[in-house]
């Protein structure tokens, strides 16, 4: 069952699967240190899409090196960075606009693909994040309307179009058509600026 609690909160009743558990484990550490949002494919999966994924995209605001080392060390309690072990080097990757991947220790899949917010659209997503309540757990995702628009108008692969269609049907009562129009214009404008 999916219920809109308020403009920024959705309550979801579901049996938590191993991918959900992995994501919740990660964000439960991360949230103690920074703001974050999950974007892209995992959002469709969270709301019931019949597919898996090996990586989950997550964005955090750009932080300074000291803060990153604090975050990295906290994550190392349960996770390891697949790209490199040295938090200083991980920070260099992130500062260069690259993403890094964290998996449970000794594993590769699934992994969290983490990057710093870089583009306007990343900052807009962070500032308009949606809280999803699942039993006693919570996680933050990017605005659903923006995810739909971005998948339909920018990414446009078969998988992205299918993800967007799934969200449109399952979240019909939650989605604001006004926001769809707003993000549609915004994405067009930002994309033009970016290219």
């Amino acid at each position: 069952m999916i219920e809109l609690i308020n403009e920024n909160t959705i309550k979801l009743s579901k049996e938590i699967n191993d991918l959900d558990k992995f994501v919740l484990d990660f964000v439960n550490i991360l949230k103690k240190h920074t703001n974050y949002i999950i974007i892209s494919g995992f959002i469709s999966i969270l709301f019931g899409r019949s597919r898996g994924t090996e990586d989950v995209d997550i964005i955090i605001p750009k932080v300074d090196k000291t803060k990153w080392i604090e975050i990295n060390l906290a994550l190392l309690e349960k996770f390891e960075c697949l790209n490199c072990n040295d938090p200083n080097e991980v920070y260099s990757y992130l500062s260069d606009g690259l993403s890094v991947r964290f998996a449970k220790k000794g594993e590769i899949i699934p992994n969290m693909e983490l990057k710093f917010a870089k583009y306007d659209i990343d900052h807009i997503s962070l500032n308009n994040k949606i809280k999803v309540l699942i039993d006693n757990n919570e996680l933050f995702i990017g605005p659903i309307e923006l995810q739909i628009v971005y998948k339909k108008k920018i990414l446009k692969s078969n998988k992205d179009l299918e993800d967007a269609k799934h969200l449109e049907i399952v979240l019909k009562k939650v989605i604001s058509q006004e926001k769809i129009k707003y993000y549609d214009e915004l994405v067009k404008e930002l994309w033009k600026k970016r290219s």
Partner: protein, 63 residues
């Protein structure tokens, strides 16, 4: 080409059918959990190293 289009159309029809099931039924997440849990279990049998995996991802992102 026609076959590819037909395949995409059929996939999209299934996506719509499943999304409507999710909207109207409560047991969807039990079924989804079976699918996802078994996929993740299978992935643990992979013999890929971290380096191989990252190289593969880098190549697929360039495509």
């Amino acid at each position: 080409m026609e076959e590819k289009k037909l395949n995409q159309k059929q996939r999209m029809q299934f996506v719509e059918q499943w999304a409507n099931y999710v909207k109207e039924n409560t047991d969807w997440s039990r079924q989804q959990a079976k699918l996802i849990n078994s996929m993740l279990k299978n992935s643990k049998n992979s013999s890929l190293s971290k380096e191989d995996y990252l190289e593969l991802k880098e190549k697929s992102e360039k495509c």
